[in-house]
């Protein structure tokens, strides 16, 4: 084993390769049970109810006049929100050269891709007739009708598909050197697979140079893309004239909320990953401390926008604004949800002010889970407290999700877990080469 002098860490380069490959090749019974349960969850809680919905029609949902956007769209926004973790942690922290990014960014990028994928499937679920999806493709259909690009829903198609493509490329190309490192240590079908995936990478100075340049541009391009994605998602609502939705603050509100829930998602994931993959030496309490600070800042920003939303509505004192606010804040069952959301997303994160609590894994887990429960509620409330109270009272009608919709919502979590379980076995979930960079370059003479 190479003796490395003048390094920042006790971990050797070889150990990093061994540890990461171990996470991919050694699986306990627990892993297979979790994988089996998640696949069962996808099949029985998502695909089967979906097949039932396609066969029977959208009548199996709780959607009816005037609420045609329900829990499916809530899930769509929620998963798109989660996807912002990868962008923030990977691209922004890469540009700003933040060292603590290195051991967690790969999982964050994967989380981005998988959550955009989950969100995209919800669009198909929501459509009712998913086979007509090609109507959103930019070519004239049977009746020679082109797309109407002036609809925010078309903005969405472009934004989401661009985001999914870019995040996939970002994840894959940043992983090539690690896929090559895995290729060199495995045998059998794995050798074939990683040989193909690593594209013949050898780690030459030229390859590193071009990868670094391209990766920097991917990072630069993906940041404004992520901001635009959630702004555009917010415009699906804000560009309508429905009270409670037609708000100028919606785009920044959604972007802040997305980064907030995405960062909380990554904290939850890191707690689980470090324990189950036994990679505590790579994901340390220092990471939770830094992520905790990030969560605290995002929590304050998010709370500020929430207060602002209530305050401007209150100040305007128009009947429809008052009705929308009253309905959300003081009418059960929405009021219970609203105040629970304020507890989990505004009050609970205040614990993170204290350094000791930030570094506590248990507190990080509880707070991050709480935040995402709150963020899901936020999206649910946006839809279910505005559309049922649209314009004149004669058309008011409350919405409650059906069992099919609830089942598919739970199933989507199974889908995400399943993708992630497959990811940690098929992909190096901790970046080998960046962790090595963090360890330091082996030099014989100090101050070289």
């Amino acid at each position: 084993m190479a003796h490395q002098q003048h390094m920042k860490s006790d971990i050797s380069y070889r150990e990093v390769n061994e540890d990461v490959v171990r996470t991919m090749t050694k699986s306990g019974v627990g892993y297979y049970i979790a994988l089996f349960l998640s696949i069962a969850g996808v099949v029985f809680l998502w695909w089967l109810p979906w097949a039932y919905q396609i066969y029977t029609g959208q009548g199996v949902t709780g959607l009816q006049t005037p609420v045609f956007w329900g829990i499916y769209l809530t899930n769509f926004i929620f998963w798109i929100g989660i996807s912002h973790s990868g962008t923030l942690l990977s691209a922004i922290l890469f540009i700003t050269q933040t060292p603590w990014r290195r051991s967690i960014y790969r999982s964050a990028e994967a989380m981005t891709f998988f959550s955009v994928l989950t969100a995209a499937v919800f669009v198909f679920v929501h459509m009712g007739r998913p086979w007509n999806f090609y109507w959103t493709m930019p070519y004239p259909n049977q009746r020679q009708i082109w797309l109407n690009f002036q609809s925010p829903l078309m903005f969405d198609v472009f934004a989401i598909s661009t985001y999914m493509t870019a995040s996939m490329i970002f994840l894959y190309f940043g992983s090539i050197p690690d896929l090559a490192a895995v290729r060199d240590r495995v045998t059998g079908w794995r050798k074939e697979l990683y040989g193909a995936l690593s594209l013949g990478w050898r780690g030459t100075d030229a390859e590193w140079h071009w990868l670094n340049k391209a990766y920097t541009f991917f990072a630069v391009l993906i940041i404004p893309l992520a901001v635009s994605v959630h702004s555009i998602v917010s415009w699906d609502f804000a560009l309508s004239k429905v009270p409670g939705l037609n708000k100028t603050i919606f785009a920044p509100y959604f972007v802040v909320g997305a980064i907030y829930s995405g960062s909380a998602g990554i904290v939850t994931l890191m707690v689980i990953l470090r324990k189950t993959l036994r990679i505590e030496k790579y994901i340390t309490t220092n990471h939770f401390d830094k992520l905790g600070m990030l969560l605290l800042v995002m929590s304050l920003l998010w709370s500020y926008i929430n207060v602002l939303e209530v305050f401007t509505g209150w100040y305007a004192d128009t009947s429809f604004e008052n009705e929308a606010l009253k309905y959300r804040m003081f009418t059960p069952p929405y009021s219970y949800m609203f105040w629970l959301m304020i507890f989990t997303n505004t009050l609970m994160p205040l614990l993170l002010i204290f350094r000791k609590l930030r570094a506590s894994i248990l507190i990080s887990l509880i707070v991050s889970l709480g935040i995402n429960v709150g963020m899901w509620i936020e999206r649910y409330l946006i839809i279910t407290t505005s559309l049922p109270r649209k314009f004149l009272p004669y058309m008011w009608h409350d919405y409650s999700p059906s069992l099919t919709e609830i089942s598919m919502t739970i199933g989507s979590f199974s889908f995400f877990v399943m993708l992630f379980l497959l990811f940690i076995k098929l992909w190096p979930s901790v970046s080998i080469y960046e962790v090595k960079e963090d360890i330091g370059i082996p030099m014989k003479k100090e101050g070289h």
Binding site: M1, H3, Q4, S12, Y13, R14, N17, P138, W146, N148, F149, Q150, S151, M154, F155, F158, A159, T162, T165, A166, I169, F173, P177, A180, A181, D184, R185, G195, A196, L199, G200, R202, G203, T204, D205, A206, E207, W208, H209, W210, L211, N212, A214, F217, F218, L221, I222, P224, L225, S228, I432, Y433, K436, E437, I441, P442, M443, K444, K445, H448
Partner: protein, 169 residues
């Protein structure tokens, strides 16, 4: 088929010193293998590399902007949809669509630039030692038959753990 000598080093400074020495002795075809990006450290010895990828990114962004604009305005012209006096060719949606396509094409062109310059994918058998994806730093020097001994000696003197003569296909 040419001959080459590959030296494996534990320390980057040893390897760079050897590369520098060989460069100065007239061996211009030197390749460095490493498990991590070395960037600036290498530039001192091998010289600065130009960044051509940025032109690809720019060209991609530019193309994407025009594609997006053409899509949004062109489709509005192909299927005119009058809506109560609103603009047929509206600025805001055009800006949004072209913003997205600018980024999409920017990413694709950057990818093309990378693939082109890094010469990947390449599945041909090339000179490689799996140790360089772990903790060794490799120095590959293209040599003529007559120089093999001299280069081997220089690499060993500079601190290489292992030196081998390899054949380039």
């Amino acid at each position: 088929m040419g001959k080459a000598v590959l030296g494996l080093f534990t320390y980057v400074d040893d390897m760079l010193a050897a590369a520098d020495k060989l460069k100065k002795s007239g061996f211009s075809d030197v390749t460095i293998f490493s498990p991590i990006p070395l960037g600036h450290e290498i530039e001192h010895v091998l010289g600065e590399r130009k960044n051509y990828v940025k032109y690809f990114t720019f060209l991609g962004g530019f193309t994407g902007f025009f594609v997006g604009t053409l899509l949004a305005l062109g489709t509005a012209a192909l299927y005119v949809l009058p809506r109560g006096g609103r603009a047929i060719f509206a600025v805001t949606p055009t800006v949004i669509i072209s913003y997205e396509t600018t980024i999409l094409f920017g990413v694709f062109f950057t990818l093309m630039g990378f693939v082109l310059f890094a010469k990947l994918p390449s599945y041909k058998k090339k000179i490689y030692d799996p140790e360089v994806s772990i903790d060794s730093f490799g120095l590959l020097v293209d040599v003529s038959e007559a120089d093999i001994n001299d280069v081997t000696k220089t690499l060993k003197e500079s601190g290489a753990n292992e030196v081998k003569t390899v054949e380039e296909k």
